[in-house]
């Protein structure tokens, strides 16, 4: 799946600039993203997952524009996002938790 990022910017409330005009093309296949703490890797991943809105720029994932609601929904139906700091509901079994996520 091709990911095309152009001029991507994210400025948090308070003025902290996490991403500043990122241009990147991620080709189909395995791709690694390395960077120092605070470089904006998590911010970029959260934007790609549709959890966070960018301040500016454009992201197209597999032909779907994340800047539009239908595009974001299409990406979220396709893309699996596993945060580095993962938690689960203690009251649910693994099967039930996966079923819940699948239903969503």
């Amino acid at each position: 799946m091709l990911i095309e990022i152009s001029g991507l910017t994210k400025t948090y409330r308070g003025g902290v600039v996490a991403l500043d005009g990122i241009d990147l093309v991620v080709p189909t296949g395995m791709f690694g993203l390395l960077g120092a703490n605070g470089a904006g890797k998590t911010t970029l991943m959260r934007i790609l997952a549709g959890i966070m809105r960018p301040t500016g720029g454009r992201v197209v994932v597999g032909g779907h524009d994340l800047g539009t609601a239908p595009g974001r929904a299409a990406v979220q139906r396709t893309l699996g996002y596993l945060p580095q700091d993962l938690g689960v509901y203690p009251e649910l079994t693994a099967r039930q938790f996966l079923d819940y996520l699948a239903l969503l």
Binding site: N37, R46, Q76, Q96, Y100
Partner: protein, 280 residues
Amino acid sequence: MSTFVAALRYEFRMQVRKRAVWLVPGLTILLLLLIGASLLRDLFDPVEGRAVAKDAMVGLGLQLNALLPIGYGCLLADRLVRDDRLRVAPILDATPAPQGPRLLGKYLGAAAATAVPIVSIYAALAVAYAVHRSTPAALGWASLTFAAVVLPGLLFVAAFALTVPLLMPPPLFRVLFVGYWVWGNLVPPDLMPTLARSVLQPVGGYAINALLDFYGPDGDTALTGPVAGATLNFLRPEPSAATGWLSIAILLALAAAALAGGQVLRVRRADGPRLTGRAR
């Protein structure tokens, strides 16, 4: 629709399994009985018991609704914020499920599950009374009382219990909530400015007085209406069918507003920076 149903189903399932959900209302009832509350006497005492099914069931509903929502609100206080604490929120947010129906499902699922013990206690006492007095009408009055008095109050409490902890830690919310409940429902209005006896009172005074036409077993216990010398009397119109429905509508509208505010807060937070790893 499927998002709403999935959230409702799983939130209900998770909450109803919590032991505290059953222990808190159970212990509250036990404590009430131990300190000599007239709960059982009003229903089953051959001399003091209420022979009229309506008096018994509405009176029982009022007694339960005056105290059990305190534990109810406290039990719901962590249900929304715990998604962040358990680090489940980013996974749920990355699904295509729209956030509005997900919040609504979580709200109704958790609220319904936490209400199960309250409903069970009320239903058990209503059935026992109906059998004891051979009065099936008691079940009808119990259902009406639940729908008009208990349910709006629980929906109101659940909405605020779910969303206010987005602004403060749940333990602090619980302390403030208990204080609010006593102040807003039980403190006499002529003692200090309070919401007691007003249309904003979640204990359901207007529904009891105006819709169910119940003024205590002796017919002289008004739970609503203006109080001489009290402030905020503009919130205490004379009870009528219109003010009864108005009170319910206001409680439900406030619940909807609390949920909408909570949704806005959640969206704003999801769009903010997230500390990860060691920085957390």
